[in-house]
Symmetry: none
Subunit: 254 residues, 2 copies
Amino acid sequence: MLNDSDKQAQKQQKASLYAKVADALRHEINEGRHPVGGLLDTEAELARRFQVSRHTVREALRLLRDDGLVSSRRGSGTRVMSPLVNARDSHQVMSINDLVMFSGDTTFAIETSEVVKLSQESASLLGLEAGQEWLQISGLRYRKGESLPMGWSSYYIPHEYAHIARLIHRATGPVFVLMEDFTGYKVTEVQQKISASAMPRHLAESLQTDLSVAALMVRRTYLTEESKVLQVTLNIHPADRFQHAMTMRRVRKG
Amino acid sequence: MLNDSDKQAQKQQKASLYAKVADALRHEINEGRHPVGGLLDTEAELARRFQVSRHTVREALRLLRDDGLVSSRRGSGTRVMSPLVNARDSHQVMSINDLVMFSGDTTFAIETSEVVKLSQESASLLGLEAGQEWLQISGLRYRKGESLPMGWSSYYIPHEYAHIARLIHRATGPVFVLMEDFTGYKVTEVQQKISASAMPRHLAESLQTDLSVAALMVRRTYLTEESKVLQVTLNIHPADRFQHAMTMRRVRKG
DNA sequence: GTTCATTTGTACGTATGTATA
DNA sequence: GTATACATACGTACAAATGAA
């Protein structure tokens, strides 16, 4: 049986050069040799010190950046991040099972596609401003092979992008990916709100359900870096046909 | 005002070369030009096609890999991932607003604390096996300063750890942290299921609500690395008093 | 089972662009 | 404006894994 330092040594021996450099720097940072908030040695200095090329140093620093341990800025340098921020356990990584719902598992039967002016009521439901115009695409969503719809989906898209409506018909992946592709914006934040309510009267018939069944409402707002709303989706499900599942995992450290 | 393609073009013009290559490939994949599960062109081919160096192609592919869109294997090639798996949401970092709920914001008024044998019904609700014995701690949860309860909370803990019940009374942070501390296990995974239902008859009175109001049910299962269930919590909220909010953010690099 | 061409991974060198101080 | 430091991009070479002959 190998002890820890043996194991570590063995590990280091097999590791790539940039991984060794990264481990060395990680160790130095953890030991407090580089003050938090301070600048790390420059890439050129590190290359000299470890007797490797700058390329190798950059690959090593990339690993540390991916771990949130350091942060680099062009012209400035590479800074050691606060351990409060890095801490790896503080951010948990989740796989969002139900976003998968929007790919191959389900089909979306579009019923309406039109530009609408938001009423006070629907605006508050969507978290948008009343009176604004949005492209609204609505329809029933079915699980593959099932005849009862799993819910009613509505997409709201800024009316200036109304022309991508036709693309959504043959879309395979999530719609917001299409939106990113065609607007040039990048979604950096998704806000999700899940609530319960009574079954909306006007949907009971299409959903082939009873007004006594509760509804699960899932609203997602897709925001760009500049906080522009690129898309809002609202999904309304009969309580007995859908539940929102999610798994959070502690990130394992390298 | 710029139209879409102008904006996209402008954005592309400012972007780095490898970002442009990545965007082009992303676009091709989204359009279905590269079959899912199939091999992408080799790095050398892409370099020739885009008239860039292999280095630039590799940087572009790195972006796509980070997004989970493709996956590379030495000796084999670069494969287009299933859209079920990719969708880049696989690594998103979320701040779980509602887990905060269990700390300072709210108070928990314990009403019952006893070891129960799970009925078939409650077992299926909890995702546990019927007939097993669990410590059940239940009570009303209040927001600070409010007189109406925001919901009914139940904690289920393996009966062999029943002695930590008394600790929960004065607990400040999340209960599962206590559990980790006293069992020596570490929670590596939390499964969450959110569903809607009718208001359970036996809770309407304590919650001071009406049977006509729907209920939002949030179940969390805390698992150790060995998939041992360390804790299950079930929260039942009147639809008008609670909604589950969550924010997902793309991890920023650099 | 071995050999061999293919393909990605690692590592080096060099040069230039661009943001920062 | 100038020097510095990271970012981008070109090139080359070899290592290691893969898969087919």
